[in-house]
């Protein structure tokens, strides 16, 4: 899972070195930073806040337990994401029913409440609607498609990084990502058609 030292930001490397030596401020900074990352990924994988918070806490326990063995020349994210993903897989396997929240529930905001950015309120509302439909579709994907899509589209990781985190061949990452995106596309189309049919019925 190693990357060349040059790929690791020097700030991150320094922070890890300080944290490993027991520097309380560095530990605190690293903990706060990683906890946020872990929480967001856990939320994207599980779909609900309670599970995500539990997973983030468990991830941080494992993270600090093995920090002493961690090589600071390696990037921290793949290591952290791998812990989150493994814990999320365990939890999802144990759970009989998965409770995925909608984007509205998670952000407690509607398209109309969001600040108007870009072309105008209509575009903002339409973007929000699409984000919401995509989120729901991603939450309904089988987990092996969801984790690839989340790491690529929500976290912007390269295929090689995803392959390292999930321990998959790069080609499998590409296939799963494509298949997952096709499923999301299908769900978006179905949702848009339902929306249009509903609007037409309301107008009639």
């Amino acid at each position: 899972m190693s990357l060349p030292a040059a790929d690791v930001p020097s700030d991150e490397m320094r922070l890890i070195v300080r944290a490993k030596s027991g520097d309380a401020a560095a530990l605190e900074e690293l903990g706060a930073f990683c906890r946020k990352l872990a929480y967001v990924l856990a939320l994207q994988l599980t779909g609900n806040r309670e599970d995500a918070a539990d997973l983030a806490q468990d991830t941080m326990l494992r993270f600090f337990r093995s920090l002493r063995r961690f090589d600071p020349r390696r990037p921290v994210r793949p290591w952290l994401y791998r812990i989150v993903r493994n814990l999320a897989r365990d939890r999802l396997r144990r759970a009989r029913v998965r409770r995925a929240s909608s984007l509205e529930e998670l952000t407690e905001a509607r398209g109309n409440d969001l600040p108007a950015a870009g072309p105008g309120p209509e575009a903002t509302a339409s973007r929000w609607q699409l984000q919401s439909v995509v989120w729901r579709a991603v939450q309904e994907l089988p987990v092996h498609y969801r984790e690839v899509l989340v790491l690529r589209d929500y976290h912007g990781l390269a295929y090689a990084e995803i392959a390292r985190i999930l321990r998959l061949p790069r080609g499998t990452v590409m296939s799963r990502l494509h298949r997952g995106r096709l499923m999301v596309r299908q769900a978006v189309h179905a949702s848009m058609q339902t929306g249009l049919a509903g609007e037409e019925a309301a107008d009639a």
Partner: protein, 147 residues
């Protein structure tokens, strides 16, 4: 909506093209194909919109205070809730009863209720906090970060 490219093109390359993960030669191949194939052009546009929607989705993260207030385990949360559910009606009942007894001039029953009810509610809340502390003690580093 047709599922496959009518020209039999490998559509996975469109996903990789979108993500900038292709070699120059493959990129050129996809570009040329997109110019000639409306099916794949529509697919590319849809995937681009979906990816942009995902990339711009922001999610709220709990504040540091919220993290500190979280019960660490399910058992500690259960005990804490149970403790509060016992404590609140107990306080209401004791206050009501105390008023009633004060009006009547007797104090024996109040002392009994205060002793047993108070001990039960306090013990559950204490147990909840104790479970959290025990869990924190498992790793020194984590405890320093969380506090």
């Amino acid at each position: 909506m047709r599922d496959r490219c009518p020209m039999g093109f490998d559509e996975r390359l469109i996903t990789a093209f979108l993500d900038g993960e292709l070699t120059q030669a493959d990129e050129q191949k996809v570009r040329l194909h997109l110019e000639r194939c409306p099916h794949c052009r529509a697919l590319y546009e849809d995937l681009r919109r979906i990816r942009n929607a995902a990339m711009t989705t922001g999610l709220p993260v709990p504040s540091d205070e919220e993290w500190d207030e979280r019960p660490r385990t399910g058992a500690s949360l259960t005990f804490r809730l149970l403790g509060w559910w016992l404590a609140i009606p107990w306080v209401i009942f004791v206050l009501g009863y105390a008023l009633w007894e004060a009006w009547r001039g007797s104090q024996g029953a109040i002392v009994r209720i205060m002793t047993f009810g108070g001990i039960a509610a306090g013990a559950l809340l204490l147990l909840s906090a104790l479970l959290d502390r025990l869990r924190d003690l498992k790793t020194d580093r984590y405890r320093r970060i969380m506090k």
